[in-house]
């Protein structure tokens, strides 16, 4: 991306960066700098990822043998619920937008900060309050409703369900604040010359994500509020014992939670677009198609919630329409995957660590997406509903998709965030370990699910023993991969080589300034004259 010289960092002359600009704990707690808030979010989501990950290891360890292995059935129910709640509400929703998006969005726009810096800090503290409430609910006995809180069970079961739903309610506010802030930032804070057609695709993806956050989260808010009211006052909206309709809860819940899975995957798709172009040394294939497909996903995602309810007593006609719309939402995702693949074609591909994760995304997300088509088909879904097939499908999308993109983005922007390079060899070992471990864990679950193994069960029949054990061993490899990653990333902060301004030779604005950036990002707001992926040498006919 070319711009006036004033925007470029002067090589060699390192200035006081945002990490050194102010000292002491208070300078962090009161900061309104989007980069520091991003780093605080990053530390938080990595901690919750560790917690949710340990829960996952425990769930799989329990399933190593039929019957009791390491915990009783009630504990098991609480542990898998906690795994789901922590991973969804505390990790994956804030992970890419709030942690990485906060850091890179204003840099990519050539802005000094987001539109509302104080609201940004408020969002972080609201997130902290919600997290503390959720952890309190765990300490106060735990919740065993599953992360979906289905009524009538959730309306009547003992335990701190109200506390847990209110925690999710509060976390929703944090998510709304971030989304609102990003939409206004993209509309109002772009540098001169940075037209919508010149925005990095990461920005398009964050923008589409923010629309869903702002439009869907309030509906989750009122749903959880009604659930809490149902428990406290027995108002008779969801509880059939009081004349209510439990399926209404499912409609409400999925009206948020299906768009929410796109809150989880869209920002990952944004990272993918950045990684694939940077490490192919080639302009993106089909910029406009990728950008608009993000918006298409955001819109259609609001119309597919009924595919979670094919067997919940919804009418067959509604089921057919939802099935059709579900196929429709697969199209923009496929457009992205095909465009990324076309970008690789005749590119000068480098297999640096971020690219290894991007390639994993391409493979794993495609499997996850295609198995989603099986589940969106009415006839097959009746057979596969609530089996391990569903579990494997969404883990291929959420872990194989979002988490690999998150980790890829983490490796990509790590030098920009902290000014240090990590050990590339160990990073390669970690990504290979993960790829093997992930497929061992979840591919077996496709097989088990197609043979009828129900999800969430504590026990299983003998014929599933071998597959369950293979699946559990896979999680050990995943655990080892992340342990290794934590090791070399932390070590890089102390002893990593100093990172140059642009270690990957990327073209978007954040790489034009020093690593780590100065407190106000740019000495002078840059003027943008080109798109974000204008690589100098393109093999074959250039595509713009």
């Amino acid at each position: 991306m070319s711009m006036t010289q004033a925007g470029f960092a002067h090589e060699g002359a390192q200035e006081t960066n945002y990490l050194q600009a102010k000292k002491g704990l208070m300078s962090w707690l009161y900061t309104v700098d989007h980069k520091r808030i991003g780093v605080m979010y990053l530390a938080s989501v990595l901690s919750t990822f560790l917690l949710g990950g340990v829960m996952a290891l425990l769930v799989r360890a329990e399933l190593f043998t039929a019957g009791e292995t390491i915990m009783g059935a009630d504990t098991y129910n609480r542990v898998f619920t906690l795994h789901g709640l922590v991973m969804v509400f505390l990790f994956i929703i804030p992970a890419i937008p709030a942690a990485m998006g906060n850091f890179v969005l204003p840099l990519m726009l050539g802005a000094k900060d987001v539109a509302f810096p104080r609201l940004n800090l408020a969002s972080f503290y609201v997130y902290c309050v919600g997290t503390v409430m959720a952890l309190y609910a765990v300490v106060a006995g735990g919740v065993d409703t599953g992360w979906t809180f289905y009524t009538p069970y959730s309306a009547s079961v003992n335990g701190p369900v109200v506390m847990m739903t209110m925690a999710a309610f509060v976390l929703g506010f944090s998510s709304i604040f971030t989304g609102l802030n990003f939409i206004v930032t993209v509309h109002k804070m772009r540098a001169p010359g940075l037209t919508w057609g010149r925005l990095p695709l990461m920005v398009w993806a964050l923008y589409a994500t923010s629309i869903i956050q702002v439009m869907a989260t309030p509906v989750l808010g009122i749903t959880l509020l009604l659930l809490a009211m149902e428990r406290v006052l027995h108002v008779g909206i969801f509880d059939p014992a009081m004349g209510g309709d439990p399926v209404l809860f499912q409609h409400f819940f999925w009206f948020y939670s299906h768009p929410a899975v796109y809150i989880m995957i869209l920002p990952g798709m944004g990272i993918m677009s950045e990684l694939v172009t940077t490490f192919s040394r080639k302009t993106i294939f089909g910029y406009r198609a990728i950008a608009l497909s993000s918006i298409a996903i955001a819109v259609i995602s609001f119309l597919v919630w009924g595919h979670h309810m094919f067997v919940s007593g919804q009418s067959v006609y509604a089921g057919m329409i939802f099935s059709f719309l579900t196929f429709l939402v697969a199209i923009p995702s496929a457009i992205k995957v095909l465009n990324w693949t076309a970008t690789l074609y005749k590119g000068s591909i480098s297999l640096a660590a971020p690219m290894q994760w991007a390639l994993q995304f391409l493979i794993l997300f495609t499997i996850g997406g295609l198995t989603g088509i099986f589940l969106g088909t009415l006839g097959t879904d009746v057979h596969l509903h609530d089996t391990y097939f569903v579990v494997a499908h969404f883990h291929y999308v959420m872990v194989g998709g979002t988490v690999t993109a998150f980790v890829g983005g983490l490796h990509y922007w790590w030098p920009k965030m902290f000014g240090r390079m990590y050990n590339e060899k160990l990073a390669t070992v970690s990504s290979i370990l993960f790829f093997i471990g992930f497929n061992v864990t979840f591919f077996t679950q496709f097989v088990m699910g197609s043979q009828g193994m129900p999800r969430r069960y504590y026990n299983y029949v003998e014929k599933f023993q071998t597959l369950h054990q293979i699946s559990t061993m896979g999680t050990w490899l995943i655990g080892a991969a992340f342990l290794l990653m934590a090791g070399y990333l932390i070590a890089s902060l102390k002893s990593g080589a100093k990172a140059p301004a642009n270690p990957w030779g990327a073209r978007s604005l954040e790489w034009a300034i020093q690593s780590p950036p100065i407190e106000h990002n740019f000495h002078e707001i840059p003027t943008v004259q080109e798109g974000p992926y204008e690589y100098p040498t393109t093999v074959g006919p250039a595509k713009h």
């Binding site: 509302f116 810096p117 206004v184 009122i222 108002v235 009081m242 209404l248």
Partner: protein, 215 residues
């Protein structure tokens, strides 16, 4: 009377960029508010359509007079807050500081009047047992599950009431700053945003009143 000049935030180019950002943010926030209430409107529709007779009967037991008075009170307050925004926009050297203060004051007073009327309505219902869920003990409605109507009634008007209280807080904050002379023709964003929020609170009531009391 005097004014205090506003300083544009360091990350904005201009005051115009700052105020248009703030306005866009406020409109997005209002979208989330409407969507928050949308869940209640859906619950309303589902329960009303599955229990039409109970609903019609229970609905006729609400106090239409008090509802009408409150509607008039809120519409008047929307008018006064709109005048307050106008006063801030045309405030040149602080000559309209006083007018702005009194218009905001009357708006807050009307919001308080709304809550007083609501208090009398609520206490009557508590007294005769027109309550949600298991707390229901009223015997004037010969239909099963009449408690569901009052569940929806209390949830909708309760959530709206909370918004009235929040709105009073916001307008009080604007009033305190107006008293210090912070708002003039060059900077009146908080007055405008507070006004927008108050119009939304009013608008929601304009839907609640016919849906609960009249239909």
């Amino acid at each position: 009377m005097s004014i205090v000049k506003h300083q544009v935030g360091h990350h904005f180019f201009s005051g115009a960029q700052e105020s248009s950002s703030a306005k866009l943010g406020m409109w997005l926030f209002l979208v989330t508010e409407v969507l928050l209430f949308s869940g209640l409107f859906v619950a309303y529709t589902v329960i009303k359509s599955t229990n039409p007779e109970m609903w019609a009967e229970a609905s006729s037991h609400l106090d239409t007079t008090m509802g009408t008075i409150n509607t008039i009170v809120l519409i008047t307050s929307s008018f006064t807050v709109a005048l307050a925004v106008r006063a801030a926009q045309t405030n040149k050297n602080g000559e309209k500081n006083g007018q702005l203060f009194w218009l905001l004051f009357v708006t807050i007073l009307l919001a308080g009047a709304f809550l007083v009327v609501k208090y009398f309505e609520y206490s009557h219902k508590f007294h005769v047992g027109m309550l949600p869920g298991e707390a229901y003990f009223y015997d004037g409605i010969p239909h099963a599950n009449a408690h569901r109507f009052f569940g929806v009634y209390f949830l909708m008007t309760g959530l709206h009431g909370i918004h009235v209280v929040i709105g009073m807080g916001v307008l009080t904050w604007v009033l305190v700053r107006a008293r210090k002379g912070h708002f003039y023709e060059g900077y009146y964003t908080p007055v405008e945003l507070g006004g927008l929020y108050w119009h939304l609170v009013d608008l929601i009531w304009i839907y609640l009143f016919p849906l609960l009391y009249l239909v």
